[in-house]
């Protein structure tokens, strides 16, 4: 029997029992729809976290002093002096896979304006820092190259700082505030970024030229951190390797020697967050998968009943020349048609539910194309797997008994 005839026969058999076919399908529909929806929720939250990370600068690389041992005792990072301004200059000049580099030194203290004050940390950074961390200036200007050269007492502040120090809504631009006892002139205000994925207020920030912080506040010659941006997120790995190579060379570290610096990239953070959301996705999918399994068992159940109910029909088909494999294929095709049609409806319903959840509950959702393909695959396999046994039973019926079955 050719496939066209097979399909025709199976479709007709299903058509003769429309309501029952639909009920059988319902199990698959609900199963697939829940898989699609759950995956969409999982992927949605993953995407939203990824987006937040990329707002922090997804191609950001942080270089910290480290692995400094004195007499076998590992030293605290802040006391390490292995990162120098020269390293910043070297990276800037020699590493080709980074587009922006900035030193970072910070000091915490009290910000004071008149009778308002708030604890904050003053970050000494370079010109590239804004682009690395994806900050933007909303009012005023960023400090200049000139300010860095002269270690000028100027700063740029975040929204939270403005709210804390200027509660009466005065324009902060040009105003003088004090960090501990040192006066700083505000040249600009940063555009608000809100809280980051870790719950840290990204607007509670004061940026000043790194020279100012190093010379006037900390009186140090070493850097606490160097931050850079790789050319692209994909080339972060490459940039990390290049920086390592350059720094090892300039730090004169022997081939078997340990790095005296540590490089972290935002990618690590992102993969950590991803593993969390992946776990969530897997959990949700498992629950959804169980409902798909139940749907599959539903198919098996109905197909079994159908084989018994249609024994006479099977007997007739055999007596007019259907071979065992013709009967087997017919029942298998019926099961697969049910599961695939259920799959198509399920995908549509799942996407609809995902959109509904997005609109009503405001949850981030994202329907991955592969999750749709996966569902189709699983449906077909479910149909074949659960249709096989009843189909096998139908095909092994004895035609003599089947035709006389009442």
């Amino acid at each position: 029997m050719n496939f066209g005839n097979l399909l025709k026969i199976s479709l007709r058999a299903l058509g003769n029992n429309k309501f029952r076919s639909f009920l059988t399908m319902l199990g698959i529909i609900i199963g697939v729809a829940s898989v699609i929806t759950m995956l969409a929720i999982g992927q949605g939250s993953k995407r939203s976290i990824q987006q937040q990370i990329s707002e922090m600068g997804s191609n950001m690389i942080m270089i910290q002093p480290g692995a400094d041992t004195r007499g076998g005792v590992r030293q605290d990072a802040s006391s390490m002096q292995t990162l120098k301004l020269e390293d910043y200059e070297t990276i800037r000049k020699q590493v080709t896979s980074v587009v922006a580099v900035s030193p970072l030194v910070s000091s915490s203290g009290q910000l004071i304006n008149g009778n308002n004050n708030s604890p904050s940390s003053l970050q000494g950074v370079g010109l590239d820092y804004l682009s690395i961390r994806q900050y933007q200036i909303s009012e005023g200007d960023y400090f200049s190259e000139q300010d860095i050269r002269t270690a000028a007492k100027v700063c740029v502040v975040g929204k939270t700082v403005v709210e804390n120090l200027f509660p009466d809504g005065n324009d902060p631009i040009g105003k003088i505030i004090r960090f501990n006892s040192i006066p700083f002139r505000i040249t600009g205000v940063l555009k608000s970024k809100g809280y980051n994925a870790m719950g840290r207020d990204q607007d509670d920030i004061v940026l000043a030229p790194y020279t100012t912080v190093m010379k006037r506040i900390l009186s140090v010659t070493y850097l606490q951190q160097i931050v850079c941006s790789a050319v692209s997120e994909r080339r972060t790995e490459e940039a990390v390797e290049e920086i390592t190579e350059v720094l090892r060379y300039t730090h004169k570290i022997k081939v078997d020697g340990e790095d005296n610096f540590t490089i972290r990239s935002q990618q690590e953070l992102s993969s950590m967050m991803n593993s969390t959301t992946d776990l969530l996705t897997i959990l949700l999918s498992c629950i959804a998968g169980i409902s798909l399994l139940v749907g599959g068992i539903g198919i098996m159940n109905i197909m079994y009943v159908s084989v018994t109910e249609r024994t006479k029909e099977i007997g007739l088909r055999m007596s007019v020349g259907a071979r065992s494999r013709d009967i087997l294929s017919q029942f298998l095709v019926e099961a697969v048609i049910i599961s695939i049609t259920g799959g198509v409806i399920g995908v549509l319903l799942g996407v609809f539910c995902a959109i509904l959840i997005n609109v009503v509950a405001q949850w981030p959702v994202f329907v991955q194309p592969w999750s749709v393909l996966l569902s189709f695959g699983v449906c077909t396999v479910t149909g074949i797997f659960f249709g096989w046994y009843p189909a096998r039973k139908a095909s092994s019926l004895n035609p003599i008994d089947a035709i006389r079955y009442e």
Partner: protein, 245 residues
Amino acid sequence: MATVISLKDIHRDFIVGNETVHALKGVSFDIMKGEFVTIMGTSGSGKSTMLNILGCLDTPTSGSYLLDGNSVGEMSRDERAVLRNRKIGFVFQNYNLLTKTTAVENVELPLMYNPSVSSVERRDRAVKALQDVGLGNRLDHMSNQMSGGQMQRVAIARALVNNPSVVLADEATGNLDTRTSFEIMVLFQKLHAEGRTIIFVTHNPELSRYSTRNIFLRDGRVMEDSFNSDVADAAAMLASLPIED
């Protein structure tokens, strides 16, 4: 005349529990092309077993069965299915039509399992077969919209559509009233007149008058095998029946 069916010393044993039941105990006969044979016997005579073997649904325990020269006894299940598809047309007592299916589609069924028949040819042949049994005007009637006589005609058309070597009818008039039974017998006689080989299995001895040859089975053996020189005309019988309102 070519031999269509050749049975030699057919035995068929069934094992029921610890006992062996001998349903057929050495049956032999040949059936030529164009014969109209009635196989008769009471319940338990072995006629159902005979029918199953003739229809290639079952194989004999011993003995040889040649259908159009093919030795059925040595065939596998699937080979017999193909043989049924090409060489045998079944007509059952309870019609066995597919429900919610039109007359044409029911008749097309055997050809669905024959890949060498295209869908166009299948339809043409089904329509032709239905016209031959007098249902040319009911092609698209559903099986549940027809009377018993009409359903049996559809079943006969289905048995004819593959142009079989032999038509096997199992109590084909058993579920029909007298008048309709004769209408069906008229149809069988017409088919016989067209040269078809027909085997009619029944427990009703009256029907033996309308066939050319009668085989009586009793307790698994052929008791009588006689040719009927005086075949009664079913059409005349039908005409003599009082017309019911």
